[in-house]
């Protein structure tokens, strides 16, 4: 059965590592739904978070292959429910939204977002949440023709359980 798997890899911050990692997905014709690369808490080591929808056997093979990549220090896969798992999105919204009482109430008070810039014609709003939540708000704004721009980040993740952390085991 196919489902979402989140792979977290700690890698040397080196040219071509990302290429090697994505090629393990490409080779098996697996589409990457979301990808985030950022510096980990150790200098020179990056964290890569990839989410993709595939089968248990395939993700096992992908992770095994990634484990053999010379510049990968540690790699594992998780289910969505194992992780606190958020993306951030920016929305560019027409200032017209403020003239409607219920819409402006939604955006200012009920959407769990925050205004980060306010212009004459547009507001820029930031919201974090699951991809689903972010997309839902986008659709809502779109359907009311307020949305003028939209951009979403990759995932930031932490393990949910107290005694488990996704940390590089320094050896």
């Amino acid at each position: 059965m196919n489902r979402e798997y989140i792979v977290v890899a700690f890698v040397n911050n080196q040219i071509s590592v990302l290429n090697r990692i994505t090629s393990a997905y490409l080779k098996r014709e697996i589409n990457i739904e979301s990808l985030n690369v950022s510096e980990s808490f150790v200098k020179g080591i990056s964290t890569i978070v990839i989410s993709a929808i595939t089968s248990a056997d395939t993700i096992e093979r992908i992770v095994n292959q990634l484990g053999n990549v010379i510049d990968v220090l540690q790699v594992d896969y998780y289910h969505q429910e194992d992780l606190i798992y958020k993306e951030m999105a920016l929305y560019k919204i027409s200032a017209d939204i403020l003239s409607d009482k219920s819409d402006s109430d939604y955006i200012l008070n009920r959407s769990n977002s925050r205004i980060i810039e306010m212009g004459k014609e547009f507001l820029i709003i930031e919201k974090s949440g699951s991809r689903y939540e972010l997309e839902k708000m986008k659709e809502k704004l779109e359907s009311k023709k307020f949305l003028a721009g939209y951009s979403r980040s990759g995932n930031a993740i932490l393990h949910r359980e107290q005694d488990k952390s996704i940390l590089l085991k320094v050896s």
């Binding site: 071509s16 090629s23 093979r61 095994n64 484990g67 053999n68 010379i70 990968v72 220090l73 540690q74």
Partner: protein, 565 residues
């Protein structure tokens, strides 16, 4: 401290020498000219073999490595030089052959401008290398070359590609080779072999009724052949081999029971389906070995021993996995194993062998339909007259399977063939490399007429570098293996598999290589003897039956006991 400024290109050569490299295979070109210019000064220290096509260089490096156990090295220029070695790199990855391939690249300030002969070699080779690195400054040379060799040969061996920009060849660097460098690479760390798994494996072996050992190339790489024999003898267990494991164990050892897989022997395939315990050592359960995976070895518990844990449960689920170097694991198993011969199992194996002899082998080796030659007879003749001591290098196709079935091996590293990728054109250049890597041994390349023509330009390398190589072309005027599949599975429609061939003897003459053509059975043994006794290169064309099939055969997707013969 004394400074030692030299050019990057000289630093490359000095580093190669530090790594124990005595031979490199290569082909020059614009971007790699600074390295070749320096090579001129190093002629006495490094034997450079000029090939005729870069594909020849990489396959020769593979043959060199497979025959010698050392890391093979090839060099090529940027762009087309680099893309010409891609096939060999892919072949080396899937067949775990340690290579360091150095290709030139345009100067780092020109990268990404579509400069003359710029190709993005790193990106092209990412999925087919164990590691790759682009050197953009001469200062990186010493460390990166050391790291490249370490990675190529450590753990499961594989190919490494170094892209060397032109400026890095020319710039000066304060060269110092660091033999004390320690590379801390997580996936190459030595694993601690699990003692509890060893104990469990010993118990499984000692209580098994129908055990069998399957050896793969891992046994050759870790030089564990002798230990596997000791294990088999203590446990009275038969040993069978994959294509890549051939010659790990001498063919005439009483416990050696033949080859598994698509064109393997009856016994090993039938045994697999009946065995209650399979000890798989340094092999990866490729589809050519397993047939239909859902019906593979239905009765067996499988103990899978491999250095690469990514191979565990990849295609076949095993009962027990032991990660580690084959030799180390087998050595730990030996003392605990004690098991006597199961006469029922033993007679089953003997029966299968009798059946194969009666139905296939004896008929094929003795019959003389119109006095024409079977590929089996040609390979058998080389095995008999060469007394099982020659290195056989094959190309890909029917002749390859006949070589696997009818060759005899007394020593390790004696069967060099393209297994995982099945690369036609591999044979001739790989044989050149094998002869250079093992000069004390007689090397015979056995090729199909199709595959020979994919890299026949390397006869020029044989001529120029005086390689003492025996080349046998089994000429059936067909792309035989494809024709066989067309006959069996495509209702005999021979779509573009017939070959109009040139006169191979004239070709051989043009390269000053002594040659002979044999068409009838009676002349075969004499010609093989003449070839093997000849000092220097020799090309023997054996005209074989046009439409012979390799049997037995487990058709693709069938179970191992659904055998055609």
């Amino acid at each position: 401290m004394q400074k030692n400024y030299i050019k990057g290109s000289e630093a490359v050569l000095k580093s190669l020498i530090e790594e124990g490299v005595d031979t490199i295979f290569g082909y020059p070109g614009g971007t790699i000219m600074p390295l070749y210019d320096e090579l001129f000064n190093y002629k006495e220290k490094i034997n450079h073999i000029l090939v005729r096509h870069e594909q020849g260089a990489v396959h020769a490096a593979q043959g060199y490595s497979r025959a010698s156990g050392k890391v093979g090295v090839c060099i090529a220029t940027a762009g087309p030089g680099a893309t010409n070695i891609v096939t060999g790199i892919a072949d080396a990855l899937i067949d775990s052959t340690p290579l360091v391939c150095i290709t030139a690249q345009v100067s780092s300030d020109k990268l990404g401008t579509n400069f003359f002969q710029e190709a993005d070699t790193i990106s092209i080779t990412v999925p087919i290398t164990k590691w790759s690195y682009q050197i953009t400054s001469a200062d990186e040379v010493a460390v990166i070359i050391a790291k490249a060799f370490y990675i190529a040969r450590t753990g499961r061996p594989g190919p490494v590609l170094i892209s060397l920009t032109k400026n890095a060849q020319i710039e000066l660097t304060n060269y110092k080779y660091r033999s004390d460098l320690v590379f801390n690479i997580p996936c190459l760390k030595r694993v601690q072999i699990s003692q509890s798994s060893i104990k469990e494996a010993i118990d499984l072996i000692n209580s098994s009724k129908k055990p069998m050992i399957i050896v793969g190339q891992g046994v050759i790489i870790s030089e564990a052949g002798g230990d596997v024999i000791e294990l088999a003898e203590r446990g009275s267990m038969p040993i069978v081999s994959t294509l890549m494991g051939l010659s790990a164990v001498p063919s005439n050892h009483p416990l050696f029971a033949g080859n598994v897989g698509m064109h393997g022997n009856l016994a090993p395939n039938m045994m697999t389906q009946r065995s209650d315990l399979i000890i798989a050592i340094g092999m990866r359960f490729s589809d050519r070995v397993t047939g239909d995976t859902s019906r593979y070895a239905p009765m067996a518990k499988i103990i899978h021993i491999d250095i690469d844990k990514a191979e565990f449960n990849k295609t076949i689920k095993s009962y027990l996995q032991i990660q580690g170097d084959a030799k180390e694991v087998v050595k730990l198993l030996i003392p605990g194993v004690k098991r006597s011969l199961d006469s029922e199992w033993d007679s089953f194996i003997k029966e299968c062998w009798k059946k194969e002899r009666d139905l296939i082998i004896d008929k094929l080796l003795s019959d003389s339909v119109n006095d024409t030659v079977s590929m089996a007879q040609a390979v058998d003749s080389i095995a008999r007259i060469g007394k099982g001591s020659v290195v056989i290098v094959t190309d890909v196709g029917q002749h390859q399977m006949f070589c696997a079935r009818y060759s005899k091996f007394n020593y390790g590293r004696s069967m060099i063939t393209s297994g995982g990728l099945g690369t036609m054109g591999f044979g001739l250049p790989a044989a050149i490399g094998a002869k250079v890597g093992a000069p004390q041994r007689d090397v015979v390349a056995i090729l199909g007429d199709g595959g020979f023509q994919m890299t026949l330009q390397e006869l020029g390398t044989i001529m120029q570098s005086n390689i003492d190589l025996k080349v046998v072309i089994l000429n059936n005027s067909f792309l035989g293996m494809v024709r066989q599949w067309q006959e069996l599975f495509f209702e005999g429609r021979y779509s573009f598999t017939e070959m109009i061939n040139p006169n191979f003897i004239q070709i051989s003459n043009a390269y000053n290589i002594v040659s002979k053509r044999v068409e009838i059975r009676e002349e075969l043994d004499y010609a093989v003897k003449e070839m093997l006794e000849f000092r220097g290169s020799y090309l023997l064309e054996v005209v074989v039956r046009n439409e012979e099939n390799v049997f037995p055969m487990v058709p693709s997707g069938s179970s191992l006991d659904e055998i055609l013969y």
